[in-house]
Amino acid sequence: MNIVVCIKQVPDTASKITLKDGQVSKEGMTFIMSPYDEFALEEALKIKEGLGAGSVTAVTLGPDSAEEVLRSALAMGADQAIHIKDDAFAAADSLGVGRALAAAIKPLNPDLVFCGMKAVDSDAAQVGGVLAELLDLPQALAVTKVEVGDGKLTVNREIEGGSEVLEVQLPCLLTAQKGLNEPRYPSFAGIMKAKKKPLEVKSAADLGLGGDDWGGGAQITEVFLPPPRQAGKVLEGEPADAVKELVRLLREEAKVL
């Protein structure tokens, strides 16, 4: 099976967010592969290994530094990587990112495209659906289980208060939810091998993109930090007294009981 996995480099979830010149400051931050993309990549590698055939291509869109997540993907076991890199992409919204990914992925003619259910920086949870629409693929988003059948997949996807079981014809697009698997760590041998695997860089022009392909017109007018939450009261005394006071406060002050 020919599988493409879309991955994104994001700040570590332990990062504190600060602003500089009205934008989120990247200074001193540690960057990682977005955790949901790791689940997608792990599942793609497991499917390939289970079938004993096929290839896994990791694709990212991002600045120079994003090459690190592609190297990680290659070290985990991806066969090749594509880095979509162009300053023009700085302005892209989810639709624009989807268009760029679609342009890079379409010529690969994949059987399966796998994304994370969301990136943990922008939290938009859109690129999977946008990409499925642009590539005219059926989709199952936020999957927690994948079984490979003949020309089709059977998947579980998370919905409120339960899950849906779907049968999806190949080719298709899936997005990974937590619970799908436990991503592997790259081995030392994997890291050494990754250095020799092909990594292709594509610009907007290479993909035939330009003009108003970067999105549908949504504009971010301001980035701001939430007001710091004020610490409230620590209730002193024996547990029994503290709890009685808690009940009183929730009833009389907070009015939530």
Binding site: S15, A124, E158, L166, A218, A231, G232
Partner: protein, 329 residues
């Protein structure tokens, strides 16, 4: 944009009733529509929908669009994408609002892409500056920061998180006009075979008014009984920290935080949760936070409205007892 008017809510329904998110969106939608001097419409897709119109009217819908067809009885991304796209083209609204739910997250990006417009997703606020386009507020980095976004393009489209807006019936109920939408089901390449509901009497985590969560301080899955019992007393949903989920004590679907659910209940009770930054990001907008932890320096106390420094195994059983008494009083 001049010819696009009104607000269209993409409705969700269950067992002949509007889902809570749809009541919330209608309540907000009719307030925005009133400011614009325009109308609010709602679309329902499925089978046997006629009874939904009356409830939609109570929440202020002027028009109810129905795509009512046996072929739409079971949800399908492909069929529903086509039907909703057709409805949006027919209704010509300036603004389309969806819930940031499994339904909205699945469909909205596809419909927006088919229409060639941007989608502003996972919003928690919407305002209408003088004569302008709607401005949305959405958390990024799970709420460590926020963006203000103006949805441009000919049709503005957004998904809104549950609990972002209060649901309230309109002062005077309306008798909405109903219009039908053609149901073009088309080719279905992803078929829903089964829907497995987790057997639970508790509310859904992202929609709950009250959440009781447990963390590593509970020391093992068996002690989550304390979380469950307290939740039962309060009619609350249950959550867990990443540490508790990664240890296999609770299912992944219960995780609250940057790599789990982002929640915003009225009351969030954290039992034995230290408050890692990624957890605080996921529940920091809760109206009131109660924390029980034996470490007085735990970061959770920096955000807690009310904190009790103590052993969760001493404090939680008393909480169960006292909250039960308070409920009966």
């Amino acid at each position: 944009m001049a010819d696009k008017k009104g607000i269209l809510i993409i409705g969700e329904h269950q067992d002949g009733n509007l889902k809570k998110i749809t009541r919330e969106l209608l309540s907000k939608g009719r307030a925005l529509a009133a400011d614009l001097g325009e109308e609010t419409a709602v679309l329902f897709v499925g089978q046997g929908l006629a009874d939904l119109a009356a409830e939609a009217g109570r929440f202020g819908a002027d028009t109810v669009w129905l795509a009512d067809d046996a072929g739409l009885a079971t949800y399908s991304t492909e069929a529903y994408t086509q039907v909703v796209t057709t409805a949006v083209r027919a209704a010509q609204p300036r603004l389309v609002l969806w819930g940031a739910t499994a339904f909205g997250r699945d469909l909205a990006p596809r419909v927006a892409t088919r229409l060639g417009v941007s989608l502003v997703s996972e919003c928690t606020g919407a305002e209408l500056p003088d004569g302008g386009s709607v401005e949305f507020v959405r958390p990024v980095y799970a709420g460590k920061a926020y963006q203000r976004v103006v949805a441009g393009g000919p049709i503005q489209m957004a998904t809104v998180r549950p609990n972002a807006f209060a649901a309230a019936e309109a002062d005077s109920p309306k008798s909405p006009a109903t219009k039908s939408v053609a149901a073009e089901v088309g080719q279905i390449r992803a078929q829903v075979l089964d829907v497995v509901k987790t057997v639970s009497s508790r509310p859904e985590l992202t929609e709950a008014e009250v959440i009781v969560s447990g963390g590593r301080g509970l020391k093992g899955p068996e002690h989550f009984e304390l979380v469950d019992k307290l939740a039962d007393v309060l009619g609350a949903a249950t959550g867990a920290s990443r540490a508790a989920v990664d240890a296999g004590w609770r299912p992944h679907s219960h995780q609250v935080g940057q790599t789990g659910k982002v929640v915003s209940p009225t009351l969030y009770i954290a039992l034995g949760i230290s408050g890692a930054i990624q957890h605080l990001a996921g529940m920091g907008t809760s109206k009131f936070i109660v924390a029980v932890n034996k470490d007085p320096d735990a970061p959770i106390f920096k955000v807690a409205s009310y904190g009790i420094v103590g052993d969760v195994f001493d404090v939680a059983p008393i909480m169960i007892e006292e909250f039960q008494k308070a409920k009966e009083a």
